[in-house]
């Protein structure tokens, strides 16, 4: 591997260096907005988000209109064949709309990342940020300690509670974190060393992808991290009017859970995301659904989830009453009786078989031995006898004889039995 690697490097260059080099121009573009954005007022900075959202919507407006048109057409038509075609067409248009919105996201990436970085800077540099209060600010002021109203203004503090720990914002994205953010936006795995601030890196693509309104998920390995990170990063997004929630704060199937999925950015643990998907597929009315179509997810500790956890399925099960299906108790006395009867009978047969074999009559002895085997293969005395020299071979030979021509002679062996135990394939283990 290492040899191949070094040969590869000689030909195509070091992949990681190449990857990073490819992303560098984008980093330069992000930074080119910096001096311009520094001059913006807080309100002007916040308006950027509205502008981005509008740009994205505009980019596929034609398609949205067409889909609405088709949906109306389908409602009025009773022609099944035509409707089927329309549905196919709608699905295709939706895919196109997604592609267009992705293209737009790529276009606005530098500016959008610069907005997040500038926001982080302002929270790090100021204890409070005063802005003209929006509807969202008013709502948040009632829910969160870090937003308060002063007349027509809203005041944002730069210190808040992150799952039981008071934090004061002090982080601004480094260049390498911008690179990490780009990789995540592009749907790649970003390998970042411990302590390089993965939580902060994720804010960049989460913000960008949440602008479509289709949801951006951050998936963690445990609920402590989900709750901590969502609370820790929330104000950065909320400042821009994006909603943030964590599914682990709410009970399954609850309105709160649904609201968390309807948020622009949703944090949560991997198992809960998976179970919600399964529960949704057990729902009886559309109102019970909590998840939206799966748009964008960043999986934290992705190696642990996709490699280490591989193939242990999530399962939703329920005990079902037996009802009248099984008659175990009813049949049990009869079964117990015939097993007992067969055992008694075969004890005698085995004794006879032993006697015959000892006398050298291997034909008759083998025949009886096979009968015991087909009647009670796990009988202790029988198994013990099998361990004696030559007995196993005799049984094998006899069985082979009776198995010829598709068990032609076997009924003779079985004729004396109440039930027959046929061990297929791995006969060797039973001996």
């Amino acid at each position: 591997m290492s040899i191949i690697n070094s040969i590869l490097k000689a030909f195509v260059g070091d992949k990681s260096k190449k990857d990073v080099k490819e992303l560098q121009p984008l980093v330069d573009q992000i930074k080119s907005f910096e001096s311009e954005f520094e001059k913006l007022s807080h309100d002007e900075l916040r308006n950027k988000t509205l502008y981005f959202k509008q740009t994205i919507k505009d980019s596929y407006k034609d398609i949205t209109d067409k889909i609405t048109e088709l949906e109306m057409e389908v409602q009025e038509s009773n022609d099944i064949d035509k409707n089927e075609d329309i549905y196919t067409e709608i699905d295709k248009l939706k895919e196109e709309a997604y592609k267009l919105s992705e293209e737009t996201l790529n276009k606005i990436l530098p500016e959008a990342f610069a907005v997040v970085k500038e926001t982080a800077k302002r929270f790090a540099a100021n204890e409070t940020l005063t802005v003209a209060a929006t509807e969202n600010d008013r709502k948040l002021s009632g829910e969160k300690d870090y937003v308060s109203l002063e007349g027509d203004n809203a005041v944002w503090k730069n210190s808040w509670d992150a799952a039981g720990k008071q934090v004061t914002w002090d982080m601004v994205h480094y260049d390498v974190q911008l690179i990490g953010g780009i990789a995540l936006h592009q749907g790649k795995i970003a390998e970042m060393q411990t302590g390089e601030g993965k939580t902060l890196v994720a804010t960049l693509p989460l913000y960008l992808n949440a602008l479509t309104g289709n949801g951006a998920h951050l998936v963690t390995v445990n609920d402590y991290l989900a709750k901590r990170d969502s609370a820790w990063m929330a104000p950065i997004f909320e400042f821009h009017g994006l909603s943030v929630d964590c599914i682990d704060h709410h009970r399954p199937n609850s309105d709160g859970r649904r609201a968390a999925y309807n948020a622009d950015i949703t944090y949560g643990t991997n198992n809960e995301f998976g179970f919600d998907y399964l529960r949704d597929n057990m729902a009886h009315t559309p109102k019970d659904l909590v998840q939206r179509p799966h748009n964008y997810a960043i999986v934290d500790e992705v190696d642990s989830v996709l490699v280490d956890d591989a193939r242990t399925p999530l399962i939703i099960s329920r005990s079902v009453p037996e009802g009248d299906r099984h008659e175990f108790n009813e049949l049990k006395p009869k079964v117990s009786e015939i097993v007992q009867k067969q055992r008694q009978h075969l004890t005698g047969v085995l004794a006879e078989a032993k006697k015959l074999i000892a006398e050298g009559n291997s034909k008759e002895g083998g025949f009886l031995l096979l009968r015991v085997y087909r009647g009670l293969p796990k009988n202790k005395a029988f198994i013990k006898f099998l361990s004696e020299e030559g007995v196993k071979q005799l049984l094998q030979k006899t069985e082979n004889f009776y198995m010829q021509d598709n068990n032609r002679e076997m009924p003779k062996v079985d004729e004396d039995l109440l039930f027959v135990i046929d061990e297929k394939n791995n006969r060797d283990r039973a001996y």
């Binding site: 970003a190 411990t194 190696d303 996709l306 329920r318």
Partner: protein, 699 residues
């Protein structure tokens, strides 16, 4: 073993059990003969359908009974208490054949567990039935765009790409890494290794540096803890998965002189922050007590030191008695050590050694990847099926596209009926099935049936069938309307949603609908909800049964190995057959209920209010099998590797008898199935041979 064992009553046994009075108790009806008998009587076509239904029902009851009997016989003759299972607290628990451990929570499938419970006179537990299942891998694959973050992915980059099409980008660190990663120290025995570790840890701690000791198991953590206690070195031990508390201990692990012992996976996602004093003293020291099978895990441990350009060091200790070394490449290392004339207690630190360990691990990783990939292939089969069923379910739930699905179901059912009967040239049965599923007489005459192609007949039947269906639904709406009107206009009833029972003559299914919408749409909403509810109920029920069958299939195909066949291939084939049969059954059942379903009476008293019952939660369990961490997995793999070693592998002997072949040497191989021969370079032939379809021919 239990899977392939079949137990059957002999005629003598049947007589014995049935006794005199009830001769037919266990005798399966001979379907073919019975059908002929019914037809001979030449009854009315409706009556004939009824008689045949009766026959099928008898058949089902008897086959269930015989199955129960057979499971009971197995329980009594093949399963012994305290060998295959134990009874604890009135519960039957399975004992693992290989390890002898009790497998808590597992149950034998297909009624066997219940049979053993009956035998042991304990309560017969209800069956737990899987309602829905998915692996996280397949869940995340559904996202339009998926990204991931981690400290360690690059060693698994090939796997991420091949399976998930995820590219791994190594993001450079903000500041250069100042951590000193030393070459491995290699000792002959574990004892020498642990002694050296304790010496080093004591020294480091006294120098004011925090030390993090990474182990591969709880036992080693405890052993080292004991040894450190003897030396009176204070320390913390992290084993369990106490998320929050764990984070606190890890956060404390950066203070001067603090020693923390942790299994490798402990404390992910939390940072070890250093004080200025610690940085001056040289930062966090990482001590690895063993090389892990996976390089990724070691990198993770290493990565805990040297964050954000902090100083730090990492050192791994290895002994030739370690599992990894014993299994891979230790011969060479041991020889090398002998050549160097190593004495007891002496240590070797050489880049060549480190590399040779590295190579051993690459081998292990490749192997593990292969195992995972194969398991994922099993999972893929199920995943594809789930996607189809869930899409249909979603259409039914949303209602919008259900009409198209129903039309397709009608068409597919027509096709199945036509093709089946056309092939058998059985017009009579064709007529019978049309009545059974569509409640209508044939739109084609017997003569036409013989002349026209299957496709033409299907088209005609479909057209007639679907028209009939539309009429039927209009009629249903019209019948229901006066009743709905009465309920709606009765001021005493302030209902929002109502339950309307529908019946196909055999079973009754309740349809929930919004009263006002039903009223305002002239009953059309009721029909839509009827279609929705019926489709959902039948899809869900069939899917549950299918999940159980797939589970059984997965277990039973493993036996194909004994027949030198590839279980995966058989699994794929059988799974497809099962799925096809299930979809066919779903189509038929939905179609048949929709065509036959009627309001039992025009009595408004039959309609009740649908109260907003909270979703039925009784007994719903969510579960995920406890995931062994990669240490445990590694231990398991090692155990498996050892048992494999003990077993003389036949193929291995054959390989050894052959002279070594160069990778570019030309060889001739022959296909065992077709007998075709090919001559090509060995490196090209190797993958073909390993698949088992081709064998090497000696010139």
């Amino acid at each position: 073993m239990k899977k392939t064992t079949e137990i059957e009553l002999t005629d003598k046994g049947v007589n014995y059990i049935s006794g005199e009075q009830n001769r037919d108790f266990f005798v399966m009806p001979d379907i073919g003969a019975e059908i002929a008998k019914i037809e001979q009587q030449n009854p009315e076509i409706e009556e004939e359908a009824e008689l045949k239904e009766e026959l099928f029902k008898d058949f089902t009851v008897k086959s269930e009974r015989i199955h129960t009997m057979s499971q009971l016989l197995k329980a009594y003759t093949l399963f012994e208490k305290d060998v295959e299972y134990v009874v604890i607290d009135n519960k039957v628990m399975i004992v693992d054949e290989q390890t002898g451990r009790i497998m808590d929570g597992r149950r034998y499938s297909d009624g066997l567990h219940q049979a053993i419970e009956a035998k042991e006179n304990v309560k017969i537990e209800a069956l737990t039935q899987t309602f829905a299942t998915v692996t996280l891998q397949n869940y995340f694959r559904m996202y339009s765009k998926l990204a991931g973050m981690t400290g360690t992915a690059i060693t698994e980059a090939g796997e991420f790409w091949e399976i998930y099409k995820l590219d791994v980008v190594e993001i450079p660190t903000n500041r250069p890494i100042a951590r000193d990663d030393r070459n491995d120290l290699i000792y002959k025995t574990k004892r020498e290794k642990y002694n050296a570790i304790i010496d080093e840890v004591t020294k480091l701690s006294q120098a004011g540096r925090p030390v993090l000791i990474g182990t591969t198991s709880v036992e080693i953590s405890e052993l080292l803890s004991k040894l450190l206690s003897v030396r009176k070195v204070p320390h913390n031990v992290l084993n369990a998965k106490l998320h929050k508390k764990e984070a606190d201990v890890v956060a404390d692990a950066g203070n001067p002189g603090v020693v923390t012992i942790a299994t490798n996976m402990a404390g992910r996602g939390t940072d070890i922050k250093l004080t200025p004093d610690v940085k001056k003293a040289g930062g966090l020291a990482i001590i690895g007590t063993e090389r892990h099978d996976s390089r990724r895990v070691d990198r993770q441990l290493r990565g805990r030191s040297g964050r954000q350009g902090d100083p730090g060091s990492s050192q791994f200790y290895v002994s030739l008695e370690d599992n990894l070394m014993r299994l891979f490449g230790s011969d060479r290392v041991a020889k090398m050590m002998d050549k160097m004339g190593l004495e007891e207690g002496e240590v070797i630190q050489h880049s060549m050694m480190t590399k040779s360990i590295e190579r051993a691990r690459e081998k292990v990783e490749e192997n593990n990847f292969g195992v995972r990939k194969r398991l994922l292939e099993y999972d893929d089969v199920m995943n594809a099926q789930r996607e189809v069923v869930y899409k249909r379910r979603r259409h039914a739930l949303q209602g919008e596209r259900l009409k198209v699905d129903i039309a397709n179901m009608v068409y597919d059912t027509c096709e199945v009926i036509v093709e089946g009967n056309k092939a058998a040239n059985d017009y009579k049965n064709f007529e019978f099935e049309l009545i059974k599923y569509f409640s209508m007489t044939s739109p084609v005459s017997e003569e036409e049936f013989g002349k026209l192609s299957a496709q033409e007949i299907t088209g005609r039947v479909y057209k007639a069938g679907y028209d009939h269906y539309k009429e039927k639904m209009e009629r249903n709406a019209a019948t229901a309307l006066p009743v709905i009107k009465k309920v709606y206009e009765d001021n005493a009833n302030n209902f929002e949603r109502i339950v309307v029972p529908f019946t196909d003559g055999v079973k009754t299914l309740n349809v929930v609908t919004n009263l006002q919408e039903a009223y305002e749409s002239d009953g059309k909403q009721l029909v839509t909800d009827f279609e929705k509810n019926i489709s959902l109920a039948i899809i869900d029920d069939s899917w549950k049964t299918h999940l159980r069958k797939m589970d059984e299939l997965k277990q039973s195909v493993q036996l194909a190995v004994h027949e030198q066949k590839d279980p995966l291939l058989i699994y794929k084939f059988e799974a497809f057959e099962l799925f096809k049969a299930m979809i066919e059954k779903v189509n038929k059942e939905i179609v048949s209920f929709l065509f036959k379903g009627e309001l039992p009476s025009g009595n408004p008293n039959d309609i009740r209010e649908a109260r907003n019952v909270p979703r039925k939660k009784e007994n719903i369990q969510t579960s995920k099998e406890e995931i062994p961490n990669s240490d445990e997995l590694a231990a398991r793999n090692r155990a498996a590797g050892q048992t494999q070693r003990q077993r003389p592998a036949v193929t291995e002997t054959i390989v050894r008898e052959q002279p070594k072949i160069g990778r570019n040497e030309k060889v001739t191989i022959k296909n065992v199935m077709s007998g075709e021969s090919k001559t090509l370079k060995y490196k090209q032939a190797e993958p073909l041979i390993s698949k088992g379809d081709w064998v090497l021919i000696q010139d």
